[in-house]
């Protein structure tokens, strides 16, 4: 049996199911202290004074960290614009809190109870500042400036000009205009943030925590503590889900600081509420779109303006904006395109990485435009898509050709056929949904497609390290793979194991993965994000394995050890016309949704989803199906019941009783995962990244289904029952 392509069981499954696997919140050490965080819990204020007197006298309190204790009080994954701790001092930037989850102090004590008691006694004198509640308010003249470097509160503006949209629209027989808005989303991973820090046997500050990119966390901790990177060690124990929500620093820096200051192990576990206000969300975005086509359904021009709510700090907003920009017209070849994209600081919880990374928002707008255009042309939506789908060599909006291996038409056709689209002499034809016997229930079927980059974009130096050790005599007894890449719950380590086994021609059981520890792995693997982990680590492991195998054959020494750094083709940043080679490869997906709507209560039920996802090569088909089903359900949550409500910078949904996520009884009645395998020329054994893709087309496919059911377009997410009814009323 070949290692790749078989659904080997997860080695970590039993331990996780029976509760034996330690997550970071389960770790403890002798002599360990406990830390709690004092959050600002106000969206915008200046801290005038901080009085720790009474708090410091609480028995059991060991120390209280404030801004004054942080050697370099700024951090951030892309832009270091966020204070580790806010407080009065020389740095005016750190003297202000800019969102409810800004941190003011960390209390370290012998017990959690003592720490909590002390936290309640810290006196903070705030001067309230006017709140910037949304990007519209932020861009008004006279709005409070949130970051001195950006007097207009616009963190970044991307401008894309391809062809000549004036000329393009002049060729159009039909032009469709639309305005769209989408809400934020909470990751709601199972395990809230937690970590344990200590000084290890080599005197390093070690931090065990749940993250997505150990080497990046190491760098950010070292930066804030003004230490060389090698004085910091980051370890990821089992990780309880991430979805992008662990890309930013949460507890890591303050824990490292506390361990350094006290010389003792220090542990911190956030509550669910702290997690919800404390980490970033998916970007809420608004869109204004115009799309033009000729009568025979050829797209000729598109114009998009999009605005994303960056929240209080940059997080990954600039990167998300880049993705949103290049996907703003969907996976289509359009000769004339103009895009203006803005990400704007506000006093909301920062927005950042979340499965799809700007692609779900932009595809909602772009695919809704396509569905409206199909209706306006009287053309089947699948037919229209196939006419315009990106192909090998098509020019992207950035004017660079698509990398080889484009399979947009494959996934569209396979998905459409599976849910019952028919090819007729007049072209593709949508199946009619069977209507229930009820005056108020209506059913419809909708379609959408998407593409999404794999790996880091726009000139970011993308690379991944791996080491392979082969042990044995004549035969290979055992293989150790060292690769830092995080298994955030998606099963990356099993994929690593299968790829190594395949490359070496041995059984997967012989492969041991050593991972998620900056001290025992050869170098960075990059983040478990951007649908890149299997692709990047797979290539690195394959490279190291092939090198090791050659040594094994040529040399006497045992074990043989080979290290390899994988570098994909370089990408480039956008210039002032948006010209660039943004990505080295993409993944392709299409989805059809059959939904039912109650036209009197506004309830929406998803009956069936068909997702055709090109994964290049399914390393482990069961895990692929797991990713598809998980992504569909998460997208359904975003599109329907998940409603992250912020008012004047306050979070009105800080609990899982107010921020609702779908339960097993709310998910689609049926999800068909169609695994398409068009090899990626750059992928390890042809594999592509795939974990974000099935999320992306769900929302526009759902609203297309609702349009099929009711004749009404739903352009704003989430589809709360009230919003559904209001929309039905408006368009009735």
């Amino acid at each position: 049996m070949r290692a790749i392509g078989s659904s080997l069981p997860r080695g970590d499954a039993v331990g996780k199911v029976v509760g034996a696997t330690p997550y970071s919140g389960d770790l403890s050490m002798p002599g360990m202290l406990h830390a709690v965080t004092l959050f600002a819990r106000r969206p915008h204020a200046r801290i005038l004074a901080l009085d720790l007197g009474e708090a410091g006298r609480v028995p059991g309190v060991v120390c209280i960290l404030t801004a004054a204790d942080v050697p370099h009080n700024r951090f951030g994954l892309n832009v270091p614009d966020q204070p580790v701790l806010c407080g009065p001092g020389d740095d005016e930037h750190a003297s202000r809190v800019r969102f409810v989850g800004d941190k003011v102090a960390v209390v370290v004590a012998e017990t959690v109870e003592a720490a909590e008691r002390a936290r309640a006694l810290i006196r903070v004198e705030y001067e309230a500042l006017p709140v910037v509640p949304n990007p519209v308010a932020a861009r008004q003249t006279g709005a409070p400036v949130l970051h001195a470097a950006h007097p207009d509160n616009v963190l970044l503006h991307y401008r894309v000009r391809k062809g000549d949209t004036l000329a393009g629209f002049a060729q159009a027989d039909v032009v469709v205009e639309g305005e769209y808005s989408v809400g934020g989303q909470e990751h709601a991973f199972l395990q809230p943030e937690a970590g344990l820090a200590w000084l290890d046997e080599e005197g390093r500050v070690a931090v065990a925590c749940a993250g997505q990119w150990a080497h990046e966390e190491q760098e950010q901790i070292a930066h804030a503590l003004r230490l060389p990177d090698e004085r910091v060690r980051v370890i990821h124990p089992a990780i309880g889900g991430a979805f992008g929500g662990r890309e930013d620093i949460s507890v890591q820096i303050v824990l490292a600081l506390a361990a350094q200051k006290t010389g003792r192990p220090v542990k911190m576990v956030w509550t669910r509420e702290e997690s919800i206000i404390g980490h970033h969300k998916r970007h809420p975005m608004t869109y204004r779109c115009r799309t033009g086509a000729t009568r025979d359904g050829r797209l000729v021009a598109a114009e998009v303006e999009l605005v994303s709510d960056c929240g209080a700090y940059a997080s990954t907003s600039t990167k998300v904006l880049g993705n949103a920009t290049i996907m703003a017209v969907g996976p289509y070849d359009i000769p004339h395109v103009s895009i203006d994209a803005y990400t704007v600081y506000t006093n909301n919880v920062p927005s950042g990485a979340f499965r799809g990374f700007g692609a779900p928002q932009s595809h909602f707008a772009a695919e809704s435009q396509m569905n409206k255009l199909a209706a306006a042309l009287g053309m089947d939506p699948v037919e229209l898509r196939l006419k315009n789908a990106l192909r090998d060599g098509s020019l992207q909006v950035t004017q660079a050709p698509m990398p080889a291996g484009v399979s947009m038409d494959h996934v569209i056709e396979q998905c459409a056929e599976s849910i019952g689209w028919r090819r007729t002499a007049q072209g593709w034809q949508r199946p009619a949904a069977a209507q229930p016997d009820s005056p108020w229930l209506r059913r419809g079927i909708g379609f959408a497609a998407a593409f999404k980059n794999i790996g880091f974009s726009f000139g970011y130096r993308e690379h991944c390290w791996a080491t392979v050790e082969i042990h044995g005599g004549g035969d290979i007894d055992r293989v150790v793979v060292r690769c830092a890449g995080s298994d955030v719950g998606q099963g990356a380590h099993l994929a690593f194991q299968q790829i190594a086994a395949e490359a070496l021609g041995i059984e997967a059981e012989k492969v041991e993965i050593v991972s998620a520890d900056t001290a025992t792995t050869p170098g960075s693997s990059g983040s478990a994000s951007a649908s890149r982990m299997t692709f990047m680590a797979g290539n690195a492991i394959r490279g190291a394995a092939e090198k090791a195998l050659a040594m094994w054959r040529d040399e006497e020494d045992r074990p043989v050890i080979a290290t390899y750094e994988f570098n994909p083709p370089a990408t480039t940043p956008m210039d002032d016309m948006g010209r660039s080679t943004p990505n080295f490869t993409y993944g392709y997906v299409a989805e059809a949704v059959e939904a039912e709507i109650d036209t009197e209560t506004g309830e929406v039920r998803v009956r069936r989803v068909v997702c055709a996802d090109d994964v290049g090569r399914a390393v482990n088909p069961q895990q692929v199906t797991g990713q598809i089903e998980g992504a569909v359900v998460q997208a359904q949550g975003w599109a329907t019941i998940e409603n992250f409500v912020q008012r004047d910078g306050l979070v009105l949904t800080p609990h899982l009783s107010t921020y609702l996520i779908p339960t097993v009884r709310d998910i689609p009645d049926r999800v068909d995962s169609i695994i398409v395998e068009v090899p990626d020329p750059l992928g390890p054994f042809g594999a592509r990244g795939m974990a974000e893709m099935p999320f992306i087309p769900f929302a526009p496919a759902l609203t297309a289904a609702l349009h099929d059911a009711t004749g009404v377009w739903f352009d704003h997410l989430p589809l709360t029952p009230v919003r559904v009814l209001e929309t039905l009323d408006e368009q009735a």
Binding site: T601, P721, V722, L725
Partner: protein
């Protein structure tokens, strides 16, 4: 979170339980399925000094026929047992129709009928059903017993006619009058969550097919189960066609004063009340008509 410290008793008999309640009065709380009480204690919304665990009182659980068409359900009967009982399906179809809407199977496996009624959460289904069916509550204390009609039992938010030294022991559901139909409707943001709005309906038709009596009870719209009196009045004596149903539902939605929260505004709840009331009344009428 953890509850405040408390004393814990496991009485072996009803008398022992009643004696403990008599002794501790306001400091004590009976513990049934714990599905409301334990979370409330963990959040420190309830801090009883004494818990009297009813789970060993086997006599308090059970489902029995009561005369011609009536039903008696012991207070400690698990919700799940009621849901699965053929006797309940036959004699109190409204209960059978309602139970799957209460929380999730895991919770119904522990949660009791008596616990839900004694708790009187304004968003709970069972108090509304008890009121719609004119249930009678059998209540015991150390030196006596009384029977309280559902209409006198539910007094307000989390408040009933029970005294601290009293236990609800049994609920009696009288037989439905002839030519009666019942129906239940609710809408929640998620399956298993407390409803945004829900209602239970009972309609009785006269020999001539006109409505002789009806009952419409909402929950999640006020301080407890809320009976829509005007709605019933509009229906009485009417031929139960679509227009009459619509008028009655409209009247019902006007006589309630639902709350606003993060999940739904008062206006939206009122709209839902009208839709659900119309659907429930219509189904109840259809079922009653089928019996003529």
């Amino acid at each position: 979170m953890k509850p405040a410290p408390f004393e814990y008793y496991v009485p072996r008999s009803l008398d022992e339980a009643l004696a403990l309640l008599a002794e501790h009065g306001y400091d004590a709380k009976p513990l049934a399925g714990g599905q409301s009480l334990v979370p409330a204690m963990n959040f420190r919304l309830a801090q009883p000094a004494v818990l009297v665990d009813l789970n060993n009182l086997a006599d308090l659980a059970g489902i029995m026929a009561d005369g011609e068409g009536g039903l008696r359900i012991g207070a400690m009967t698990r919700q799940r047992a009621v849901e699965r009982s053929p006797l309940v399906a036959q004699r109190a179809p409204l209960l059978a129709e309602t139970l799957p809407y209460i929380a999730h199977p895991q919770i119904r496996n522990r949660g009791t009928v008596g616990g839900s009624l004694a708790h009187n959460d304004p968003a709970a289904e069972l108090p509304a059903v008890a009121l719609a069916l004119d249930a009678r509550m059998r209540v015991r204390k150390q030196d006596g017993e009384r029977v309280v009609a559902a209409s006198d039992f539910f007094l307000g938010i989390f408040t009933t006619a029970l005294e601290p030294d009293e236990l609800l022991t049994e609920i009696v559901f009288p037989p439905l009058p002839p030519r009666s139909g019942v129906a239940f409707e609710e809408m929640a943001r998620r399956h298993g969550d407390y409803a945004l709005v829900g209602c239970a309906a009972r309609v009785t038709l006269a020999e001539n097919g006109k409505v002789s009596d009806s009952r419409l009870v909402f929950f999640s719209v006020g301080d407890g189960p809320v009976q829509a009196v005007a709605a019933a009045k509009t229906l009485r004596g009417q031929r139960p066609g679509p227009a009459a149903m619509r008028a009655s539902a409209e009247a019902a939605s006007q006589e309630i004063d639902p709350p606003s929260d993060i999940h739904a505004s008062a206006d939206f709840r009122r709209h839902l009340a009208q839709v659900l009331a119309r659907r429930a009344l219509t189904r109840a009428v259809d079922r009653a008509s089928a019996l003529r």
